[in-house]
């Protein structure tokens, strides 16, 4: 199948749609950029147009927008508390961006920009840098006490501090790889089994077809779940920076 140009990984290829240059920098509008833009447009349309009536008793679209809002708001309140309100626009944008990116990726022939490690890493790294700065702004040098677990004797500090430090520094990696790997693996698997349908023909293809149908349901769940996981971990990191431990 690779010979026909239908490798399971072909769906992740970045294709330049409009070549652009900003000075020396390549800022071409690619299929990835197209789906990021689509995500932006759809989230905006969804949240702005569904709320245009501002009804006291919401109809369907408005109630979905409110549901999304309250879902993230509760998430932030439960993990961080009231001090987290300031970061709600960022956390909410992050959740909607990843969720819509993942969901758009489930449309056949579309592109999933969250399946690219550079995109997920950039988001995770932004969160990492953000919460680190937040920690230093809130606590100054006292923020370093975060690397000393409470109730641990001084003897164990030389062991505990490097462990805590490594676990802290690996946060952007685990956060980005989790999202990237889940999406990539899921989409690759879908493609592989979809390829079996063709190669096994009408009769033999029924089994992989049924599998692909079931897998699509699972992937929709994962699309939501990974957006949720990314968001709740961001909330936990914000909480760590504000409250330490």
């Amino acid at each position: 199948m690779a010979a026909e140009g239908h490798s399971p990984l072909a769906q992740f290829e970045i294709k330049t749609l409009i070549p652009l240059k900003l000075g020396e920098i390549d800022v071409s509008f690619t299929n990835s950029a197209l789906f990021m833009s689509l995500t932006l447009i759809m989230v905006t349309l969804f949240l702005v147009f569904s709320m245009r009536q501002r009804a006291l008793v919401p109809e369907r679209w408005q109630s979905m927008a409110e549901l999304a809002y309250e879902f993230v708001a509760n998430l932030l309140r439960d993990t961080v508390g009231n001090e987290g309100r300031k970061y709600f626009p960022f956390v909410f944008s992050l959740f909607m961006f990843i969720l819509f990116g993942n969901m758009l990726g489930m449309v056949p022939y579309s592109f999933t920009f969250t399946s690219h490690i550079i995109v997920t890493f950039a988001m995770a790294f932004t969160v990492f840098i953000g919460v680190t700065i937040l920690g230093f702004v809130k606590h100054g040098f006292h923020f370093f006490s975060f690397f000393v677990p409470p109730g641990v004797s001084v003897v164990l500090w030389p062991l505990m501090i490097p462990i805590e430090l490594i676990s802290y520094l690996s946060r952007p990696i685990s956060l980005s790889v989790r999202l990237f790997a889940n999406l990539t693996a899921g989409h690759t698997m879908l493609k592989v089994f979809a390829g079996f349908i063709i190669s096994l023909g009408v009769v033999g293809g029924i089994l992989p077809f049924a599998f692909v149908v079931a897998l699509t349901g699972l992937e929709l769940l994962i699309a939501f779940l990974q957006a949720y996981v990314f968001t709740i971990l961001t909330c936990f990191y914000i909480n760590d920076s504000i409250h330490l431990h």
């Binding site: 970045i14 920098i25 690619t30 990021m36 702005v48 006291l56 626009p89 909410f92 490690i117």
Partner: protein, 165 residues
């Protein structure tokens, strides 16, 4: 793996930054305030409705209490009236009973007096008749006139004996 091709990194990062910053601004300035306002208004409305309902409930409670008090008072008053009437009837009956008893007692004692007088009279009469009858019977039987005093003594003796037995 297309994800590891570094030449695609820069345009992806650039457009990620552009779209995410735009999304952030739209969320921050437009979407979130709108949804937040609607939710807040609804919460306020629900709170005020609940407050109103609470007030109405309290009012209903006080009306109900007043009504119950009225019913209780009326009931108590009726009980009181019934009790007073019953007591009056009982007292009247007692008084009537007492006066009647007194009257009967008086009449009874009068009657007893009359009876005892009549009895004494009868006893006296019997003595006289007995004396006369004895005198007559003796004169007829033994043809001898016995003195009245003698007869009287005998009769008295006999009657006393009779009375004693």
């Amino acid at each position: 793996m297309p994800q590891l091709d570094p030449t695609t990194f820069v345009p992806q990062l650039f457009w990620l930054m552009v779209t995410f910053v735009l999304l952030y601004l739209v969320m921050w300035k437009i979407a979130i305030p709108r949804i937040g306002d609607v939710l807040q208004d609804r919460q306020k409305r629900i709170d005020s409705d609940l407050e109103k309902a609470e007030e109405l409930k309290k009012e209903a409670q006080s009306v109900r209490e007043a009504y119950e008090k009225l019913v209780t008072d009326g009931s108590n008053k009726a009980q009181e009236t019934i009790r007073a009437a019953r007591e009056k009837v009982a007292a009247d009956a007692l008084a009537q009973h007492a006066s009647l008893t007194e009257k009967i007692t008086v009449q009874t004692s009068e009657a007893e007096n009359r009876i005892s007088a009549a009895k004494n009279q009868a006893l006296a009469d019997i003595r006289t008749v007995a004396v006369e009858a004895t005198q007559l019977a003796a004169s007829k039987l033994i043809d001898q006139k016995i003195s009245e005093r003698e007869v009287e003594a005998a009769v008295s003796k006999s009657l006393d004996k009779e009375r004693r037995s």
